[in-house]
Amino acid sequence: MTKTLKINKNVEQGILELLRFLLDGGKVSGVFTLKRINKEGSVAYSLVTRSDELEDAVPLFPLMPVNAGKLLSRFSLRGKSNKPVAAVVKPCELRAFIELVKREQGSLENIFFISSTCGGVYPIEMAVDGAVENNLSKYWEAVKKGEIPAQIRPACRGCVEFKPYTADMTVDLVGSSDIDKRCMILLNTKNGEELAQDMKGDFLEKELDKKILDKFQNKREAERKKLFDEIEEKMKGLDGFIDIFGKCLGCHGCSKVCPICYCKLCEFESPDSEYKPSNYESDLKKRGGLKVPPGTVYFQIGRLDHIAISCVGCGACEDVCPVDIPISIIFKKVGESVQKLFDYIPGRDVKEEIPLLTFEKDELSEVED
């Protein structure tokens, strides 16, 4: 059983009250959360230190403008935070941040994580025309019932990692029918308990409802299988890959938003990977034709090689793709199979080493000749 804080308000109000309590009580110096920019539904991650600035904060808004793991990495890249900060993030954002910390791209110190069981987020294009705002009531209806909301990111539809692994506090959302009336926050860690201490509300012992979440998991798994099967149908060898990725513009937008792609100097953007006239000549001589810019397929397979082991399947890549390539599902599918090789779940535990940086002496005999 986990110590749980119950606030008798609807879940969004409840979280805001907790955040205000943390700021006003001096328990944290800052809050990292989604905040409304305007009425059209644009939101952005913001760092807030004054509690009156929390008025238009929307911590649980179903949108991921940027993977917060990437933002928190930038926040703590040049040194740990000197003062305690509470960050409200989605489970995959937390996992992405853990993966970045493993790569020495950030520090967990002085950051407390509030996460939730996650119903998924809408694609970013829906934020632009206000569609998210119009769908909000439908979204929460579905989450309450433990169903998959319509129109969310494909990556979210098939996501089975909707429970946070290492959050200090977990908000009970999915399948929780009374989120209109009360806000249940599980205090998973000692830090979580200490933060919530003296907060107005009831403290009780509770667990997430396993039966409801298992049911939700089954729905997600079925959806995931459908998405994977569809992609497998198209992914038939090199021809299939070209069919899917041939229209890639080479904009590298997917790598720019990918939380795992952290290199400041990307190998695929270095002058070395730029084709010289002699490269064009030799390639053209061999093939009799060449896509321009060349190397988009190489880029995609290369990116798979670089990040598949740590792909958290957040779906940010697909969200920004201007030519609608189903990148996130392909990366998720390949990523999961690669991760399974090493029994690895990215972001599960900061102490687990990235499989490529370690080894067992006796393993993988199946790949040897």
Binding site: M235, L238, G246, D305, E363, V367
Partner: protein
């Protein structure tokens, strides 16, 4: 290539300086026979081979890639080949998942004294690639 000519694959072999390259050398000095399909590249350690080299070679149209190093436990740098094995497993899995003829990739441990093994691996791998035929990437334009 003329039609009646037999297809001779081109296989890129990354050989580590301390074991497999010496093994290949031994195969030569022992006058062992193996097909003229192998294009060797000497690397200081098999772990020097970035999996992207393999991807690049494959997309460039090479028919097969052989990656060879010291036996596990015998690495000149003590643990380089353990990392190689994980990286190779990763790239092979990616090829498998994309349904892209993972059989064209081979990892083998060949020590400096294993000239016959080198000749055997080279022969068998060449035969395997012959059965697979030419790399389809060779004539693809949209790469």
């Amino acid at each position: 290539m003329k039609k009646d000519e037999e297809f001779m694959p081109r296989i890129l072999a990354f050989l580590c300086n301390w074991c497999s390259y010496a093994g290949a050398d031994l195969a030569g000095t022992s006058r062992l026979k193996y097909p003229p399909s192998i294009l060797p590249i000497r690397v200081m350690c098999s772990s020097r081979v970035d999996p992207l080299f393999i991807v690049k070679a494959y997309l460039g149209g090479i028919d097969g890639v052989l990656l060879a190093g010291c036996h596990p436990g015998d690495c000149h740098y003590e643990k380089g080949n353990y990392y190689t094995r994980r990286r190779f497993a990763l790239i092979k899995k990616i090829f498998e998942e994309l349904d892209m003829e993972a059989d064209r990739l081979l990892l083998s441990w060949i020590s400096a004294s294993e000239g016959p093994k080198y000749a055997k691996v080279a022969t068998e791998f060449t035969e395997k690639i012959k059965k697979l035929g030419e790399n389809p990437a060779k004539n693809k334009i949209f790469l």
